[in-house]
């Protein structure tokens, strides 16, 4: 018996030694951003295979759709994955790979402004040479040419822009016009909010008359406190990603904080996107090329393809977000589309006068921690 115990012990020690030996192969620090030079995406022949990770409802994936058109024109086989439900979750899933210089086989991600910046700062993105994208930089709207997060558009190309506001089921709650109305006990358990910190919290701050751009950490935490109280009382049904459309479609809710162009994935006929009386948030989702992306030539080819006005107009007609491409409005008018007159696809300055660009809190970590505690309450 004693012999058996000794053997077991020897085995256990040997096992541990092997494990420690393996561990010693890794370096001391985990994370902290990728070291080494930032590379520029290589251009070349547009062939082979291309994998794109993006949000749902951002293109016509059908047989006559934009993806198929690109495949037909170039011969590139596109794997178009709609696996971005929220920025944080998507980033969290890929971060360990990006840290190793791998993109999980993807050549393009579509992420929101602040997330593109965060990825770039960590060394997870490749830079883009403007000469490789003649169509993009010929047609990009002037208002989008030098955003604060990427003044020279070194690493990001806008895919679509949009507004954060309220989706309302007008048959059930016609009077909801402000984010404050979402806190009305009348709608208890019939309201959802986005789990995106930078979307929901600034909208609540706006409703309280606080300018999110000038807001202090205190302001952010106060707004989170208000949302927490509503969550604890059951006022808010759940926090969602882009999947808020499911609850709206099923008639589970009367209103949701959501995005202006999601009509293509909302089947509830009474649902209507409303600009909150106190203003909205403005953002763009951008195409970026991650480190380790295979076939960057095809990725650049895709970007240039999508910026042809004739292609961009198809995208707008299907997705109903704000196109970054010049000339789309005229083409839509030519087609006699109502979208040419819509404030959701071509918002006037008057329409967005109270809106603010999406921004992060001054000191992210404590605010994000408080926010996540509300989400997983």
């Amino acid at each position: 018996m004693v012999g058996g115990r000794v053997k077991t012990l020897v085995l256990a020690v040997a096992t541990l030694a092997v494990a420690m030996g393996l561990a010693a192969c890794g370096d001391g620090t985990v994370g902290g951003g990728r070291e080494g030079e930032i590379t520029t995406a290589k251009a070349g022949n547009v062939t082979g295979k291309l994998t794109i990770s993006t949000w749902p409802g951002y293109i016509d994936p059908g047989k006559e759709g934009t993806v198929k058109e690109f495949e037909k024109e170039t011969g590139v086989k596109v794997d178009y994955i709609e696996d971005v439900n929220e920025n944080e979750g998507f980033f969290g899933k890929l971060q360990p790979q990006l840290e190793q210089g791998q993109s999980g086989g993807r050549s393009i991600f579509v992420v929101t402004d602040w997330m593109a910046k965060q990825m770039y700062d960590l060394g997870y993105l490749q830079e883009i040479n403007h000469d490789d994208l003649p169509t993009v930089f010929e047609n990009l709207l002037p208002s989008l040419q030098s955003p604060a997060f990427d003044p020279e558009r070194k690493f990001s190309v806008p895919w679509q822009s949009g507004m954060g506001g309220i989706w309302v089921d007008t048959a059930k709650a016609p009077r909801i016009k402000s984010v404050n109305d979402l806190f009305d006990p009348k709608y208890k358990g019939k309201v959802t909010m986005l789990a995106e910190l930078r979307e929901t919290v600034p909208l609540v701050m706006l409703a309280e008359g606080i300018d999110p751009v000038e807001a202090s950490n205190e302001d952010w935490l106060n707004a989170i406190e208000r949302i927490k109280a509503a969550s604890d009382s059951g006022q808010i049904r759940r926090f969602t990603g882009n999947d808020y459309n499911e609850d709206l479609n099923a008639g589970n809710i009367v209103a949701a904080i959501g995005w202006s162009g999601d009509a293509s994935i909302i089947e509830n006929e009474n649902a209507e996107w409303r600009m909150p009386t106190e203003g909205c948030s403005l953002w763009s989702d951008n195409m970026v090329i991650p480190v380790g992306a295979p076939n960057t030539a095809a990725a650049l080819g895709w970007m240039d393809f999508a910026y042809q006005p004739e292609v961009a107009v198809d995208i707008t007609e299907y997705v109903e977000y704000i196109s970054p491409v010049e000339g789309v409005k005229e083409l839509l008018e030519g087609r006699g589309s109502e979208l040419a007159e819509s404030q959701l696809t071509f918002p006037t300055e008057q329409f967005t006068r109270n809106c603010t660009d999406q921004d992060s809190p001054p000191d992210l970590e404590p605010v994000n921690e408080a926010w996540q505690e509300v989400i997983t309450g």
């Binding site: 001391g28 970590e365 309450g377």
Partner: protein, 288 residues
């Protein structure tokens, strides 16, 4: 014994041992090491024996841990109550439909877990027929809902882990020697007594195995709470997911995972002690 003969058992153990080392010991080591690091995403996480991650990971999350116990415990009890009669019926009363019924138990596994859970979102949506029937029966208050409540999460867990309870129970019941029940009846026991004093004790190994197989994965589950739950239904799995994916506090996420694993291990060991190793390891009971 020759040297070769003595080495044979180790050779046979080899593949299993290698598997354990590669897929259990090594990941555990990395996770333990990660739990002792500190830092942020931008500075990187460096190893500095940060034991404080362990108490930190528990603070503010006790409610979700308690909730996980409650949800997983309730789901396990419900699973047992549903599975036992079902497994009994399949084993003794199904006749030629036995294979078909067993297949029906396993069939849901042909669809992914995620899709099955999402399907429940549609079934239980506020205006669905199921919910209006429940409202008519006053099981749900008028204007009330099923989706985004604790009930929906527990129901989801029960549904998803049911086969893990049915199969061990069935395997156990199927081997039950029916002559023992006849003998009990010959000795003037009622059907109830025969069940309580013969069938139930003999199927304890199946019950114990079923409870473990159901409770452990249900405790760590986060899909049901995320898809079927609302704002106050997050389980500890959702907390770990949020720490890992949204706050990217990898060390705290690893520490919390470790603590939960230790907690479950302690509970399982205590449970086996109470339920008896005899019940868990049938062979020992037979030899004793």
């Amino acid at each position: 014994m020759s040297l070769r003969q003595r080495l044979v058992p180790y050779g046979l153990l080899g593949p299993g041992l290698l598997w354990l080392v590669l897929f259990f010991v090594v990941p555990m080591y990395f996770m333990g090491e990660l739990a002792l690091r500190s830092g942020t995403l931008t500075t990187g996480y460096s190893f500095d024996w940060a034991w404080s991650n362990f108490p930190d990971s528990l603070s503010g999350h006790t409610e979700q841990i308690g909730r996980s116990f409650f949800y997983a415990g309730t789901a396990t009890v419900l699973c047992l109550l549903i599975s036992y009669p079902l497994a009994y019926a399949i084993a003794f009363r199904a006749g030629r439909y036995r294979t078909l019924l067993l297949f029906a138990v396993i069939a849901p596994f042909f669809t992914t877990y995620l899709i099955r859970t999402i399907a429940w979102k549609t079934i239980l949506s506020d205006s669905s027929p199921v919910v209006s029937v429940l409202q008519t029966l006053s099981l749900v208050p008028p204007g009330g809902r099923v989706l985004a409540t604790s009930g929906a999460v527990i129901a989801g867990l029960t549904y998803n882990f049911l086969p893990f309870m049915i199969l061990p129970l069935y395997a156990n019941l199927e081997r039950l020697d029916l002559r023992l029940i006849e003998a009990a009846k010959d000795l003037y026991s009622s059907s109830r007594q025969a069940f309580l004093r013969v069938t139930l004790p003999l199927t304890m190994p199946g019950i114990v195995a079923g409870i473990l197989l159901t409770f452990i994965p249900a405790f760590g589950d986060y899909i049901n709470a995320q898809l079927l739950g609302g704002t106050q239904q997050a389980m500890v799995g959702n907390v770990i997911q949020s720490l890992y994916l949204n706050q990217r506090d990898y060390p705290e996420a690893a520490a919390l995972s470790f603590l939960m694993m230790a907690l479950i291990l302690v509970i399982v060991l205590a449970y086996i002690r109470v339920a008896g190793t005899g019940a868990f390891m049938e062979s020992e009971e037979e030899t004793s």
